[in-house]
């Protein structure tokens, strides 16, 4: 039983200096890029700017999950990953659904101000 306990304790990954520093450097790069792009007035195309900002944010979230939260498929026998995926699905449905429904609700209302 004690072997089980020690194995269990080792399962909580604390990472290494190397992994934390790698994560930190990646996070800094992925933060500086969108801030630099937006603060210098954006790229020539607005869509491209939006894409760069969203893409770096997505990658940075994955970096944080992996290097800081030690999120790996095997953590807690896979249950952490399953609950994360479940949350992401709910989150996607809810965010996309709210924006979609409310956009159409707004579009079908009487126009209030001509400026928007």
């Amino acid at each position: 039983m004690s072997s089980h306990d020690t194995h269990d304790h080792a399962a909580h990954d604390h990472g290494t200096i190397r992994s934390y520093v790698t994560g930190f450097v990646l996070a800094v790069i992925l933060t500086v890029i969108p801030f630099y792009v937006v603060m210098t007035g954006g790229l020539p195309s607005r869509d491209l700017t939006v894409f760069v900002v969203l893409a770096t944010a997505t990658v940075q979230i994955v970096v944080h999950m992996y290097y800081f939260l030690h999120m790996k498929p095997g953590t807690e026998g896979g249950w952490s990953m399953i609950s994360l995926i479940f949350t992401l699905i709910i989150l996607g449905i809810m965010l996309a659904g709210s924006v979609w429904v409310m956009y159409h609700l707004n579009a079908n209302m009487m126009p209030m101000q001509p400026d928007m």
Binding site: M1, H4, D5, D8, H12, H14, G15, T16, I17, Y20, V21, G23, F24, A27, V28, T31, P34, F35, V38, M39, G42, R46, T49, V50, V53, L54, A57, Q60, I61, H64, M65, F68, L69, E76, W79, S80, S83, L84, F86, T87, I90, L91, M94, L95, S98, V99, M102, M116
Partner: protein
């Protein structure tokens, strides 16, 4: 029959030492917290362009301040990581030092955020001025409130470690706070991306 039952229990119980499932339970709490933030992000996505004739992000947000805030939170994330590495090696003093540095970075983050909120309210852009500002204060304020409680929790654990040492209980608590702290940094990525950067593109 009774013999069977007894042996069944004797076999099973050691598989579940105390605190065995705490980390998973705390992770599931964080996922539910994630949903709270998702709701607030959805509200901001819906209301974020309703300025009610008042000021919008372009007039209100100061990106350099947000950049400083972001770096504070990021630095506090890595210093917490260093504290966890010291904890894994049972070195209490360096761990406490890293935790205090983490708490200071968190406090600076909060200070800048309170300064920003105060500044906005004095400019007449308080939470009651428009739907955009209501949802902005609700979202960013909830994150700030989480950081506040994170700092209170950190102070509590520093007192605990000071009094009782690095016991298994305290290690588990510090690991939970570690998840909480890094999780708040992940939420902040969403905040600076969707609220500040997207607002200014």
């Amino acid at each position: 029959m009774t013999d069977d039952v007894r042996s069944f229990h004797a076999d099973e119980e050691p598989h579940h030492p105390e605190g065995h499932s705490t980390m998973l339970g705390f992770w599931i709490y964080l996922m539910s917290d994630c949903l709270i933030f998702a709701v607030l992000f959805a509200v901001y996505a819906v209301l974020g362009r309703s300025y009610a004739g008042g000021p919008g992000p372009r007039e209100l947000f100061d990106l350099s301040l947000v950049a400083v805030n972001t770096s504070m939170l990021l630095l506090s994330s890595i210093t917490y990581g260093f504290a966890m590495l010291e904890m894994a090696r049972d070195r209490v003093k360096p761990m406490v030092v890293w935790l205090i540095i983490t708490g200071l970075f968190g406090a600076v983050f909060l200070g800048i955020e309170i300064y920003e909120f105060n500044h906005l309210i004095h400019e007449g852009a308080g939470p009651q001025s428009s739907a955009f500002l209501s949802s902005f204060f609700a979202l960013v304020g909830t994150h700030g409130l989480h950081v506040t409680f994170g700092i209170l929790w950190l102070i509590t654990l520093l007192v605990q470690v000071g009094r009782f040492g690095l016991t298994d209980f305290n290690k588990r608590r510090l690991m939970c706070l570690s998840l909480f702290w890094h999780f708040l940094d992940v939420i902040w990525i969403g905040v600076f991306t969707f609220v500040y950067l997207m607002g200014l593109i």
